[in-house]
Symmetry: C2
Subunit: 246 residues, 2 copies
């Protein structure tokens, strides 16, 4: 079973590109936190899993030795080749569910922004990341926070009490698996995993966790995008930085 | 500032001992998960932080070389000395907020059940645990899950939708600090910390995280204590097992 390729759906793709063009959660909340955890990438060989339209690949390419961007969406990769190409960047159509064609011990950094919550076999994905990293290499990834993915029912997720305080509704946390979400189109499929499962999977596969972050929106960011204030109530994202020991 | 000594409040103490006497979350949910993560303790020197009335100390003492139980509650320690004493067990009145009197490199296992959410200076506590452990030693602790401690307002924490589905209300996750909870008596003070803060604090202090668990109630346990079914909605506890490298 492969994960869903929602980014090749035209309505979804157009809506997504439109979203990324304006003020959004990625640029104001997730990306600043990812950049803060990025090691010095000078001279590195980097793999970007779920690279999308390649914005990060281009940024990495100025300092890195080589950048490989992989994605399952043909539309995304075509856009990447057009607007974010460079001599040391290579784009490949490849699913994170099967990285077996990538050689062992090849990358100094495996990077992934908001893709791992689509992975069905997380253990296999993490084992692959470990295998393809060089010794001492770093895995840095962000994904949806398990608090956000927990509930199966995603209708009216925020409730107000009598005093007007806003709460986020959580359920089904202990039940891992598919979550069907409406995001531009009906039935985008995310995978819910407990935070303890993520941590234990990293450790059992040999990774040494170095840092974890649940980005909190800056005041200035909330002024630009009011919806970000919801992230004071509960976190949308979680980020892990882990190392393959020497 | 020292953490609150609620266990020396007589009403609280009596209610707590009464609770622990019947079917409860500790014995049916948290303790089985802690036991599953316990290393082989044969011949170990063990420190139990927040040992309470010493039930775990007695259990450890049958296999361990030595067991030290510390707590800030005089009432708890007096009970421990009476009902859970043994030749290789020592009880000490000591706060986890200041472990400076304990010698460095002394313990194979630092264990703590449901006490760390009372610690005000978590970084200091974790640094102390690292210092007093022998090389290769293990830190195993459980505490309230950050999902549970997040909201400042703890009135009517569960809501039902029109179809009768039960949700848990979460707020204030990004705002760490004191939480005032009613538990037998008014105003028991817990400390809310994000899961990312717990993880990063462990890593920055030199610990290698080995495993994390958010115990899910077994069907048989829910039959004994119906309230445990709430832990399918959201986890009450989180457990970390971490190692001091060789």
């Amino acid at each position: 079973m492969k994960n869903q390729n929602i980014f090749d759906n035209k309505i979804f793709f157009d809506s997504y590109m439109n979203l990324r063009d304006g003020a959004n959660f990625n640029d104001l909340l997730e990306q600043p936190a990812m950049r803060a955890l990025l090691p010095d990438i000078s001279g590195m060989d980097i793999l970007d899993i779920g690279c999308g339209f390649g914005a990060n690949c281009l940024e990495f390419s100025y300092k890195a030795h080589s950048v490989t961007g992989i994605d399952i969406s043909q539309r995304m990769l075509e856009t990447a080749e057009k607007i974010n190409c460079g001599g040391n960047i290579k784009y490949m159509k490849l699913s994170m569910e099967d990285l077996s064609c990538l050689p062992s011990g090849s990358y100094d950094l495996v990077y992934s922004s908001l893709a791992f919550h689509y992975a069905i076999d997380f253990d296999r994905l993490i084992a692959s990341c470990f295998r393809i990293l060089k010794k001492g290499g770093t895995l840095l990834f962000s994904q949806e926070n398990p608090i956000t993915t927990a509930s199966k029912n995603t209708d009216n997720r925020y409730v107000k009490d009598e005093e007007g305080n806003v709460f986020f509704k959580i359920a089904d946390y202990q039940s891992e698996g598919e979550r069907h979400v409406k995001w531009f189109v009906d039935d985008v499929i995310h995978q819910h995993r407990k935070v303890s499962t993520i941590i234990t999977t990293l450790c059992k596969n040999g990774f040494i966790i170095q840092e974890c972050a649940e980005p909190k929106p800056a005041k200035e960011a909330v002024k630009i995008l009011k919806g970000l204030s919801r992230d004071l109530i509960k976190p949308s994202f979680i980020i892990f930085k882990a190392k393959k020991g020497e």
